[in-house]
Amino acid sequence: MKLIIAAIKPFKLEEVREALTSIGVRGMMVTEIKGFGSQSGHTEIYRGAEYAVNFVPKVKLEIVVADGLADQVVDTIQKTAKTDKIGDGKIFVLDVAQAVRVRTGELNDDAL
């Protein structure tokens, strides 16, 4: 199994979730994060004190899928989340040694 981690633009979340569902992904974990990258942040000024906000709001997806599905998932995220503007995000793939479904104790591919 693979763990696919993706940082994307928040307003793309729904679209990506739908696209993934349609190719058979059945679960994921979503976290609101602050992204740092080539897309620059902005400056806020409060009564003369200037704060450079170097982070931009992103959404992080974490999805575990069977090895066979991994490439398709990466591909789908990349195509759907893309707006051709800087800051569209990254996708990373890691190996997963084991998966368990809490409710049933099912293991690995059965757990997904």
Binding site: Y46, R47, G48, A49, Y51
Partner: protein, 430 residues
């Protein structure tokens, strides 16, 4: 209060305590004035809780939110008790030119039938009490995010006793400054300059917050700050129009001025920001509101509405200059700009009161034989006396409290935040 006739009437009343029957003949309760003054009193409480508490609270970081709310709350509690125990007597007892004495301690001799002018003395007492509460509460903004709760409590009691009550007595209670002819309709000097100076001294004595100038100390909720500023505006009509102590035409004048000066200051702060950095911010608009309210406070019963508009337009750029340029130049950490907004705004208002009360500028005029130049001179004198008195004594009081309890929390507690370290709770959970 600044209504001289009334103030004198009150002084007379106090003097006449031994000759009560004569006094009782003249005075008659006015239900209308009483209704308005009860409303005004609760409005000034509303300014402090939750108005000022939210205005300040929104500006600090989440981890210090409750500490600000608690500081405003405990000041409200202890100063009210102090006020009825001896504060009212010190401020409004007959006494001498500086202090009012203890004759009315524990509100001795006052009953529901006792009048102060046309209203029950109890109502006059609570109205004045709310002023005594909000003044030290204003100070907490300057040393926010680092002061010990116990030290704050002790300091507040000492400060009202040795700074606020005497100055209130000098200006309103029949003391020195009132006799000089200084015009302060609703407390520009007694409340705002006073708090601003005490705040500046506090910021200097305590030193800057850890990470000041480096870490992001952005307001945790500009929403709450805006709500606080709005409540301050709404409540300030009690403060300003209430200071007439009656529901009449001068109260109406104070009210319209409190509307339009604030509006003008709001707009001019936005305009300055728009020109300086291309964008007008909510914090700017809120700061402008407060600056306008502060500046019109001494003037509101003396100037015309157009004078009030001009006063409002002038005060914001000056305060803006202080909170952006001057503060960063000198590098002191007046956390929430108590001095920059209340101190400076109060000084601008006090001096310009001397200008805009000129009949030619739409004002209600000067005393007999008083010129504009002389009035301005008197205004400046009152400002300087307040600054010196308040500055010196506040400094001494900070040092005393520092010796007894320590003013500042330790570094770890400051990093963790005062909410957990001082109060054992957090402002928000899920």
């Amino acid at each position: 209060m600044a209504n001289l006739k009334k103030t004198l009437g009150l002084a007379a009343a106090i003097a006449a305590l031994t000759a009560l029957p004569a006094f009782a003949q003249d005075a008659k309760l006015s239900g209308a004035d009483t209704a308005w003054m009860m409303t005004s009193s609760l409005l000034v409480l509303f300014m402090t809780l939750p108005g000022l508490a939210l205005f300040y609270g929104g500006l600090v970081r989440t981890k210090n939110m409750l500490s600000v709310l608690m500081q405003c709350s405990i000041i409200t509690g202890v100063v009210m008790i102090v006020w009825v125990v001896y504060g009212y007597s010190l401020a409004f007892g007959s006494g001498n030119a500086i202090y009012g004495g203890f004759e009315k301690a524990f509100l001795a001799g006052i009953t529901p039938d006792t009048l102060s002018g046309t209203i029950p003395e109890y109502v006059f007492i609570v109205f004045q009490m709310t002023f005594a509460v909000i003044t030290p509460a204003l100070i907490v903004g300057s040393f926010a995010e680092r002061m010990k709760f116990s030290a704050l409590t002790l300091f507040s009691i000492l400060w009202v006793t040795f700074v606020y009550f005497p100055i209130a007595h000098m200006v309103w209670g029949g003391g020195y400054l009132g006799a000089q002819g200084a015009k302060d309709f609703a407390g520009g000097t007694v409340v705002h300059i006073n708090a601003g100076v005490a705040g500046l001294v506090g910021a200097l004595v305590l030193g800057p917050r850890l990470g000041f100038g480096k870490e992001n100390m952005a307001p945790h909720s500009m929403t709450l700050t805006m709500v606080g500023a709005s409540i301050l505006w709404v409540g300030w009509f009690g403060f300003n129009a209430g200071s007439e102590l009656a529901a009449d035409g001068i109260a109406g004048l104070a009210m319209i001025n409190t509307f339009v000066a604030t509006a003008a200051a709001l707009v001019s702060w936005c305009a300055v920001e728009g020109m300086a950095r291309g964008k007008a911010s909510m914090l700017g608009a809120a700061s402008g509101m407060v600056a306008g309210l502060v500046a019109i406070t001494p003037a509101c019963g003396f100037v015309g509405p157009m004078g009030a508009v001009v006063l409002g337009l002038i005060v914001s750029p000056i305060c803006y200059f202080f909170v952006t340029t001057v503060k960063s130049k000198f590098g002191y950490d007046d956390s929430l700009d108590v001095f920059g907004v209340h101190g400076i705004g109060g000084i601008v208002g006090a001096i310009l009161t001397g200008v805009f009360c000129a009949p030619s500028l739409g004002g209600t005029g000067y005393g007999d034989g008083v010129t504009m130049a002389h009035q301005i001179y008197v205004q400046i004198e009152a400002v300087v006396i307040t600054i010196v008195w308040c500055g010196v004594i506040s400094f001494i009081l900070y040092k005393i409290v520092d010796m007894i309890l320590g003013l500042r929390v330790d570094a770890d507690s400051e990093r963790e935040g005062l909410d957990i370290s001082q109060h054992g709770e957090a402002a928000y959970h899920s």
